[in-house]
């Protein structure tokens, strides 16, 4: 019954294929990939349906309902993300990796891992707004079109990561 998961793809091949996907995105739509935009759309749609008054009075939300057809969910990045979920599930399922699990370093408990994961998500949610995109939308897509913003954001994300890694090593490694 217990099936051993298939090994991951060669990272260079995966990178090459990811590059082709990115290239296709640019060739067809003129824009790159993205992921955090979908989370943003969900938040905006949710706020808009819970309290339209709040959304209308608040500039961050109002601009999304004022422009376009006022449908944050009928959005390129939302459909892209639905595709991501489909593609990832197919891949994980076919490779025997689907199933409930928590990945964590050897020295922390599950609860602690989940608390830090949610903290990380919150920070990423805020940071991706300032960065006008996350690792895929700002850094990866930006680097593909050689934009200064793309390289700056990439270096800021990973540079910060390397600088502070030491202080959070308990989360991930034994040493």
């Amino acid at each position: 019954m217990e099936q051993k998961p298939k090994p991951y793809m060669n990272p260079y091949l995966a990178g090459f294929l990811l590059g082709l996907v990115l290239l296709a995105a640019f060739f067809i739509t003129g824009r790159g990939l993205g992921a955090s935009g979908a989370a943003k759309s969900v938040v905006i749609e949710t706020i808009g349906s819970i309290s339209p008054e709040y959304a209308d009075s608040h500039p961050f939300y109002a601009s999304f309902f004022a422009t376009g057809d006022g449908r944050p969910m009928k959005n390129w990045l939302v459909y892209l993300t639905m595709g991501v979920l489909g593609g990832a599930f197919f891949s994980g399922f076919m490779s025997g990796r689907a199933g409930f699990a928590i990945d964590k370093g050897p020295r922390i408990s599950n609860t602690k891992r989940l608390i830090f994961a949610s903290l990380g998500g919150i920070l990423f949610g805020i940071g991706a707004q300032f960065g006008r995109g996350c690792t895929s939308g700002a850094a990866l897509s930006g680097m593909a079109v050689l934009s200064t913003a793309g390289f700056l954001t990439m270096m800021a994300i990973f540079g910060t990561g390397f600088v502070i890694a030491y202080f959070f090593k308990k989360l991930w490694i034994n040493a």
Partner: protein
């Protein structure tokens, strides 16, 4: 050719369908590459697994070189690609916050979704946090505004910032990546206590990297701007045609065709200024100012015209220039009204003032001109065509993403 949707080659309604299909590929590759495992992702910061760096760098370089080659071949118009604007401090602050998020959470947004959908509970919590983060940003939006929208440097390129040429930058980027791949492999082996690094130069590992290196050298080696793209007409051919006067259509031919609208197979293009066009033009003519012939919307109209294109101005000088520009882009059925409107009216309306030439003309031609004059003066020709000339304003509405709303 590309990008397809901004240029109207693909029905915009299919936009969301393409988004979904591209997403499928995106999600599949991320999961296959091992991005659904936060421990693997965080490994890049502790040296035990550099999968993030390998996939990320390879993907960025592949796409960057691919776009340059596509642009070189004329398959994609680089000017229409969305280059995310650089809001200096916002980008840096955002990056630093995301760096903290990465270490604490072990994911970035795309990878968290990939992991969440195959059942990783830590990823689901991360995605939830992501939305809370967006909400927090929204709540303090007005306080963040000065930082968020300050120091906008526009859509600038990294090679300009660094003072390099684009091609050299790409080449150096590939070299940096290659060095990084080798060094990180060494580090990884050391951290994980692996003695031999036999995988370092395995064909499967070196292969894709070599392909990138070759592509980078090709980019470097290609001339800055190609003399002619594959679909273009080279300068010699156009010059030869111009010297032979192949582009000219004679006044009489046009007058005849205007009178017999069934035989009028020309798309008449008035290349004079706005005022001149508003005053009068030939029946059925469209208005494209001479300097706008190559503008995207107009060029699309011209290149898609099934009729031969006939440029006319007051004389044939400007029209010939428009002809030459358009001919160079590879469109072949383009012509110029010889002598322009001045000669047209002189021949048709004022023929009697040139009595000498009139006398020498064969009789049928004189009769033809007589009839043409009557027709134009009584407005018969305009009636026959039954199309009012109307200026073209916009053909394609370019969808420029509003600054500051770049969505990842």
């Amino acid at each position: 050719m590309g990008p397809l949707i901004p240029q109207g080659f693909v029905n915009p309604d299919l936009n969301l369908f393409f988004a979904f299909v591209i997403g499928l590929g995106f999600g599949y590759v991320l999961e296959q590459g091992g991005f659904s495992n936060s421990r693997k992702l965080a490994g890049v910061f502790y040296g035990y697994d550099f999968v993030v760096l390998r996939v990320f760098f390879t993907a960025a370089i592949t796409a960057a070189i691919g776009l340059l080659l596509f642009s070189y071949m004329g398959w994609v118009n680089y000017d229409l690609l969305y280059v995310n604007p650089t809001f200096l401090w916002s980008a840096l602050v955002g990056g630093v916050i995301m760096g903290f998020g990465f270490i604490l959470g072990g994911f970035c947004p795309g990878t968290s979704m990939v992991a969440a959908v195959i059942g990783k509970i830590d990823a689901m919590v991360f995605v939830l946090g992501l939305m809370i983060g967006v909400f927090i940003f929204g709540s303090f939006y007005e306080d963040f505004l000065p930082l968020y929208t300050g120091e906008n440097l526009g859509s600038i390129f990294i090679f300009d910032t660094l003072g390099l040429t684009r091609d050299w930058f790409v080449f150096l980027l590939v070299l940096v990546a290659l060095v990084a791949f080798i060094v990180t492999r060494k580090i990884e082996d050391k951290v994980n206590g692996i003695e031999t690094s036999k995988g370092l130069f395995a064909p499967l590992y070196v292969g894709p990297v070599l392909i990138m290196l070759v592509a980078a050298i090709v980019v470097l080696w290609l001339p800055e701007s190609p003399s002619a793209k594959w679909f273009e007409t080279d300068a010699e051919t156009v010059l030869g045609e111009a010297a032979e006067g192949k582009q000219f259509v004679q006044t009489e031919e046009l007058a005849y065709k205007l009178l017999n609208s069934k035989e009028n197979d020309y798309l008449l293009v008035d290349i004079r200024g706005d005022e001149a066009f508003a005053e009068f033009t030939l029946p059925g003519a469209v208005h494209i100012p001479a300097d706008k012939v190559l503008d995207l919307g107009y060029k699309k109209l011209l290149s898609e015209s099934k009729k031969p294109i006939l440029f006319f101005g007051f004389s044939d000088t400007d029209a010939s220039q428009a002809w030459m520009s358009l001919r160079r882009t590879g469109i072949s059925d383009v012509f110029v009204l010889k002598g322009g409107l001045n000669q047209f009216f002189e021949t048709i309306f004022f023929a009697e003032t040139q009595t000498n030439t009139h006398q020498e003309m064969p009789l049928f031609e004189a009769r033809f001109i007589e009839r043409a004059r009557e027709a134009f003066q009584s407005g018969e020709a305009a009636e026959k065509i039954n199309v009012k000339a109307k200026p073209i304003t916009t053909i394609v509405e370019m969808e420029a993403p509003p600054a500051g709303q770049g969505g990842c």
